[in-house]
Each structure stands twice: as C-alpha cells, then as structure tokens.
Subunit: 124 residues, 2 copies
C-alpha cells in the first residue's frame, strides 16, 4: 500500500495511468520512445519487474505475454509525494511553497485565476 516509486518507475506508471487499456511491455516501450526517454525494451521490462514486485502494477496473462495495468492510483501517489515535499521543505505550510514557486517564475494569469477559484470554493 505504501509504495515508493523511483523516477524511472514513475515514467512507466505515467504511461499506464494515461492508458485506458492494459498495455504490454512493448506498448509501454514504444510510448516512452516517442517521448524524450529512450530506454531499451530490456530496461522497461526490468522496471516492470520491479513495479510488479512492489505490486504497483497488476499483470493479466494474455497468451504468452502479459498485459499490465496500474494497481495503485496516481492521485494517491501524487498526494504522498507532494505532501512529503511540503513537509520536508516548507514545514507543512502551503503558502511558502507557493511564494517560492511564484518568486522563481511568475505565475500564468489563468493559473492565478484557478487558484483564486480554489480558495473561493474552499470557503464555501
């Protein structure tokens, strides 16, 4: 349940999360090759093995091969990572995080609007 993903494992999970269908190792490799990642198929299979070991993906036998689908939710993983960072670097407060990021690079106008909307909804 408490799964920690390495960065390379994340990349594989992102492909699975983005797909409505279970995928084969080859599918995943091809999708990744279209991005900036250019791993060998063997590498992708290694990562899948590790993800299987930590039960982050679920295998379904399809003849001689496997179809893989995510066994954990992206939102849960994202929540855990975000919270870790916020706790570790900002003492669990959100506003310094925002200040930091906004200071680093000005926010897009629609991003600001989205945040304001969030705050309004939160109060309701």
């Amino acid at each position: 349940m408490d799964v920690r993903l390495s960065e390379a494992e994340w990349e594989v999970m992102e492909v699975l999360w983005a797909s409505p269908q279970p995928l084969t190792a080859t599918d995943i490799d091809e999708t990744l090759s279209k991005g900036d990642r250019n791993w060998s198929l063997a590498t992708v299979k290694s990562l899948l093995s590790r993800l299987l070991a930590k039960q982050a993906v679920a295998p379904a036998k399809d003849g001689r091969r496997f179809l893989y689908s995510p066994a954990i939710e992206r939102s849960a993983c994202v929540a855990r990572e975000s919270r870790r960072l916020m706790d570790r670097l900002f003492g669990g407060r959100l506003s310094p995080l925002i200040a930091q990021l906004a200071d680093d690079e000005p926010l897009a106008a629609d991003d600001v609007a989205a945040i304001e909307k969030l705050l309004r909804e939160m109060k309701a």
Copy 2:
C-alpha cells in the same frame, strides 16, 4: 553549482542553514540527536564528507578540527526541488498542486490568508 542532495544530506544542511555560526561535526550530531534523527557521530561525519565532496559545505580549519558552514543557499535548493516536483507531477502548473494538497488535507485558515495576500501582492 548544480547540487543534488540526498534526504540524509538535507537533514545535515538544514542544521547548518539554521545556524548563524559555523558548526563542528559534533555540534551537528548533537543538534540532530535532539530531533527524531538519531545517527551516530560517524554517520554525520560521513555525510559531511559527501557534502564536502559536492562542495555544498565549506570547511574552515579550527585547530585540529573543522568548522562547517553552508556553501549553497537553502532557497536555491528548495526552489530546484519544488520546481522538479511541480514539473514532474503537475505539468508545471501550480494550481493542480494546490488543489491536490488542499484536497488531501484542509488548509489552515492563516495559510489561506497568506496565500490570498500573496496573490494580491502578485497583482500589484
């Protein structure tokens, strides 16, 4: 310049960043022992060696031992880590990050107020 810190290294750096004075390895070990971290002095010294190797801390000889002070800025490290996470998990947008964290656990009222203030200042 482009320093990546491991989590254990971060803990050591936090102690140095929090101190107005350079510290000895023993000082750092004692400070950490007061927290939840309970490393042996040897461990702290190992971490200091690694931080020296990546030039994240600066040593000043003080007789037979060293006084250590940070050689990189906390804000720069924090900015880099925050941005990495935002890019990796939220496509570089801030609002989904906030939505995620707020959804995960309601924000403190004063945190909300701080964010509103930030937004107002940003527009000015």
